[in-house]
């Protein structure tokens, strides 16, 4: 095969076909093939599983045993499945926020920090406004959580729109700032005096906790997520705002010439993105942990990036991928029982993303037969 640097096609060695005619195969790049087929996400998950299997095997474990353990832990029992759904809730909310931003190429990777400040703001309600009736305390927590997340998003948007600072760097730096702020409050002013010196806020009262389904841990945050998906889907399809967003996503230059205010859209999109992550944070403290503590998020904000990309930024696809990745996280925990670190799931996530972006491009090349 000869491959000229910079060229768009690679010519494979000439060969004879059955009738004895000489031909050669050409690998051609076709830039017009922008829609990727449905099978790239599926294939990238399979390839990532194979790649990580080789690392697991190199460590002297059987990949089949490990994967079976992960699958059984995540989807095999009803307890495992509800846990998977519990993890899927923050992934769905953060992933939706990320999808909104990525649609117009605003690369928000700050969902982790936005989720953290959302959780902190919700906890602030329980500390500074104790004893509210259940309905009002939940509503107030939701408002505070959303506002805090949106504010954190705005702190990423303003440097981008008015100072030309790359939003990747800003949003990531703010993640570290948020995590340090969390450490400060759980070790400092909000530490539970009756907590045996353990870092964390006091437990929430029943009125400050989200209702759960039966005796499981599955809380009504799931409904927040599904409603958000529905609203987003309708807005994108049927409003002028959604149309403008789609236009910027398809061709930013054309959108600017059409008089669309891109700066304004970046700010709106980051407010939504941060706000949704803030809701996820509120739902975590109020629905799952019932108190603020360190490690409130095991990297939901980062996992949500892959969840969104794997779903091709499609809101309905997000429901599927967030359940899948919720399972991956729960599965990661369950391999700890056989002495493996849960970072297996993080490694899998990175590998899936690698294969996914490669697959999206590979299908743009096609093999052609030429005389």
């Amino acid at each position: 095969m000869s491959l000229k640097p910079g060229s768009n096609s690679a010519v494979l060695e000439p060969a004879k076909d059955r009738s004895g005619k000489w031909y050669s195969l050409r690998l051609e790049y076709d830039a017009s093939r922008t829609r990727s087929p449905w099978w790239t996400p599926v294939l990238s998950v399979i390839l990532a599983l194979l790649l990580c299997a080789s690392f697991i095997a190199a460590n002297g474990m059987s990949p089949l045993v490990v994967y079976e353990k992960m699958f059984r832990g995540a989807f095999g029992t009803s307890y495992g499945f509800t846990e998977t759904m519990v993890k899927a809730i923050p992934l769905l909310l953060c992933g939706l926020g990320i999808a909104v931003a990525y649609r117009i190429s605003v690369w928000n990777i700050g969902a982790e920090g936005q989720l953290t400040v959302g959780a902190m703001a919700a906890t602030a309600v329980t500390i500074y406004f104790p004893g509210l009736p259940s309905f009002w305390s939940i509503v107030l927590m939701l408002v505070f959580g959303t506002a805090a997340g949106a504010l954190w998003g705005l702190m990423t948007a303003i440097p981008r729109t008015h100072f030309g600072v790359n939003e990747l760097i800003t949003s990531l730096m703010l993640n570290y700032v948020a995590l340090l702020a969390l450490d400060y409050v759980v070790f400092g002013p909000w530490k539970d005096p009756k907590g045996f010196n353990f870092p964390g806020s006091p437990m929430f009262t029943a009125a400050e906790s989200l209702p759960v389904l039966g005796s499981t841990r599955l809380h009504i945050g799931l409904i927040f997520g599904l409603v958000a998906v529905l609203i987003y889907y309708l807005m994108i399809r049927f409003t002028r705002w959604g149309y403008e967003l789609r236009l910027i996503g398809a061709n930013p230059t054309a959108a600017r010439y059409a008089g669309i205010h891109i700066r304004k859209h970046i700010i709106i999109v980051m407010l939504i993105s941060g706000g949704l992550a803030g809701i996820a944070g509120m739902a975590e403290v109020s629905g799952v942990t019932h108190k603020l503590m360190q490690g409130i998020s095991p990297g939901y904000g980062y996992t949500a990036i892959i969840v969104a990309w794997l779903a091709k930024l499609n809101p309905l696809g997000l429901i599927v991928t967030s359940v899948l990745f919720g399972g991956l996280i729960v599965g990661g925990y369950s391999v700890q029982t056989i002495g493996l670190p849960s970072s297996i799931s993080e490694m899998l996530q990175g590998a899936i993303l690698f294969f996914l972006i490669a697959g999206d491009m590979i299908h743009r090349f096609r093999i052609r037969r030429s005389a």
Partner: protein
């Protein structure tokens, strides 16, 4: 030793990994490809150094392994971004995620285990007895000296050789470079790989000179600070030296203030480098709003021969 000397020593020690990673980023991005995988590459460099050094006891072997592993990851990034023309932002993110997951997985057995030694220091002879200078230089290890040498070499390479001219041409206008007969893909592959290896060396320096053992997520965002420093240094190796040491000083200033018995909680002091990064980038963006920022003009756009833009 007075406070300033101590701060200078700490600034160089904390600044060296940042400098190496920033130089790696500059090499990559000068060729027109965004490098956002620095955090993952640094982690992989650090964990490889730890594992090989602890298992073999040979420092040179450990450093070579770190360079080899990260160069391999650099090849993956090159293949995705140059040959497949994939989304460079996403490829960098994937590298960071994969690198932090894999390093945590591979590093689990050596987590918390002490390294057999640190990187050696040069014997400076008579210079060592000179008061302040001797104290500062006497504490610099081989990698710190290497990073200084690299600053000079890369400056000469980029601005005073024909290779550097080719590199800048590829980063600014690949189509024209291609017409002039410069092998765009080859140059991009080489510099991305070399840049990734340098970032891996930065990770090795983190464990050897800065933190004594491997811990999950050891770099704590320094790879991302390096990504910011590349912009701050305007893709220029000499400026990178100044910027990296400035941030090294900020990083260690937190510790110093704490040691002096400050009433400010340590969490706020640890926030300083992150917040200053954002503020400095905002200031630079504001100041250079109508001026060229030094960005390679083709940064982030894949080059496709025979295609109009």
């Amino acid at each position: 030793m007075d406070f300033t000397t101590q701060l200078l020593i700490a600034a160089i020690s904390a600044g060296t990994p940042l400098l190496l990673a920033t130089l790696g980023g500059i090499l990559t991005e000068r060729s027109g490809i965004i490098q956002l995988g620095a955090e993952g590459l640094m982690l992989m460099g650090a964990v490889t150094t730890c594992i090989v050094y602890i298992r073999s006891g040979n420092l040179v072997l450990a450093l070579l392994a770190a360079v080899a592993v990260t160069a391999l990851l650099g090849l993956v990034h090159s293949f995705l971004c140059v040959t497949l023309r994939a989304n460079q932002t996403m490829s960098g993110l994937a590298m960071t995620l994969f690198g932090s997951g894999l390093s945590a997985y591979l590093g689990k057995p050596v987590s918390g285990a002490p390294l057999p030694g640190t990187s050696p220091k040069l014997d400076l002879g008579a210079l060592k007895s000179v008061p302040v200078i001797g104290e500062i230089f006497g504490r610099m290890d081989v990698l710190a000296w290497l990073s200084l040498l690299l600053v000079v070499l890369l400056h000469l390479l980029i601005h005073h050789t024909s290779w550097g001219l080719h590199l800048r041409a590829v980063g600014d206008n690949p189509a024209t470079a291609d017409v002039m007969g410069i092998r765009v893909q080859l140059i991009r592959y080489s510099y991305i790989t070399a840049g990734a290896a340098l970032i891996g060396l930065a990770g090795a320096d983190m464990v050897l000179a800065y933190a004594p053992t491997w811990n999950e997520g050891l770099t704590a965002g320094r790879g991302w600070i390096a990504v910011g420093l590349v912009i701050f240094a305007r893709w220029n190796p000499l400026r990178a030296l100044f910027c990296a040491y400035f941030f090294g000083a900020l990083d260690s200033l937190g510790f110093r203030i704490q040691l002096l018995g400050s009433a400010v909680p340590p969490y706020f002091l640890k926030m300083i480098p992150y917040i200053v990064t954002i503020l400095v980038l905002m200031y630079l963006g504001y100041r250079n709003r109508n001026k060229p920022s030094g960005t390679p003009e083709a940064l982030g756009t894949p080059y496709i021969r025979e295609q109009r833009f």
